[in-house]
Amino acid sequence: MIDSNASTDERIEMPTATTTQPGTDRPTTLGSRRVLTATGAAAVGLSAVGLLAGCAAGAAETVAPPAASETASNTAAATPSATGGAATGTMFVDGTYSADGDYQSPNGAESVTVTVTVEHDVVTAVEVVGHATGGNSKQFQTQFASGIAAEVVGKPLDEVEVSRVAGSSLTSGGFNAAIDAIQVEAAA
């Protein structure tokens, strides 16, 4: 179930992220993701399912949920997987998974990157990194296209005067929800 804090007169358009049958395919790596450092968010000991479901909501709470009733919030909540009983006896494959969540706040579009490390069905590390538009991102992301864009330096936003930015950082809510669901599907 995709969670949404939209006010009732705004329509949220997001496909429901489905879980596929467990198969022999390993999940594809999630492309290149930001390198992250631990922030000490309380995660150790929580079940992976609970955390992944709560992580996106937690991210929204951490970075100031929208107060204005006309602003729709877009939380990329994970769909807990009903599959279990993978060959190793754990529900989730050990590893590190991350996803981005985008939403609107009164300050503008915000995005966060959430990364969790799962070992033996326990989340041992969590990080939430907020990327406020107009502010400085903590990390410089290298593209899956092998850093081609890294050679183009550009200028920091706070050195230019603009009224808005055109790019692709505000990505589809449904897409993000699907990425979250895929992490849960890591059990497959």
């Binding site: 939209a6 705004e10 329509r11 949220i12 358009e13 997001m14 496909p15 992220a17 489905t18 596929t20 999940p27 594809t28 999630l30 492309g31 006309e70 602003t71 877009n74 981005d100 985008d102 609107q104 579009a109 995005s111 990327h131 538009t133 107009g134 991102s137 410089f140 992301q141 593209q143 899956f144 296209a145 850093g147 081609i148 864009a149 890294a150 183009v152 330096v153 550009g154 200028k155 920091p156 936003l157 230019v160 005067e161 603009v162 009224s163 808005r164 930015v165 055109a166 790019g167 692709s168 505000l170 990505t171 589809s172 809510g173 449904g174 897409f175 929800a177 699907a178 990425i179 895929i182």
Partner: protein, 289 residues
Amino acid sequence: MTREHGARWRFEAIGTAWEIETPDPIDPEARATVRERIDAYDATWSRFRDDSLVARIAREPGAWTLAAEAGPLLELYRMLYAATDGRMSPLVGASLDRLGYDAALRLRPSGPPIAAPRWEDAIAWDGRTLQAPRPVAIDIGAAGKGQLVDLVLDALVAAGVEEAVVDASGDLRRIGGGIARIGLEHPGDPSRVVGVAELSTGALCASAVNRRAWGDGLHHVLDATTGIPVDRVVATWVVAGTAMVADAVATALFHVDPERIPPELGIEYVRIAGGRLEHSAGFPGEVFA
């Protein structure tokens, strides 16, 4: 970042965040008209619902009368299909499904890449009726959001709005006096810009492959002749008179070099390709190498 106008209306539609900025708040009747326009567009073109017209066309052969907006949209697609030697195509839905960008957003390939069918083989379009002897998966993602921005702006103008910026997260169009300075977001770092576009009345569309990437080399801009994601061009920005044209050409520039874009479309561009930042001589604004 300073805002141009006093009122901002934000909502989610067609899976992305929209913001409409106007000097005064938009009245409820105009908002309702905008929502209806978006709903109608989605009901026709959405690949992510099984009750849309394109979903039906993907299931059953037939002759289909399309809405009026399909005329200019498919005409533009036909032009760019020719200009890109078939690499940019509206018939790429099945190829996207195969790589995992399907209605359920499984984001996992279900097999090797497949090419889109050739236009001549799959459909006949006379400007109003689409004939498809076999089911065909149509995807207008390369230009549809831009067209919808234009249609939303038309609805606002019909409701009496005279100054506005309609911004659908990377596809925007502006009417009104003065000049807006719009940063061109660095595809690798949203806190930086690679240039600034100066827009008076017109549209600016941005396209980049970084965000809808779900695996190694898997993203949503496909070469229709192979079904495989393109890999040399990373980001494009196009200024044009309408958002539909800006959006479509922003995609086309992933497939071909700017010399192939028909000059009658009257566009200006910035592009990151092969590790370099390129731009047209007449691009309004500045570019930071």
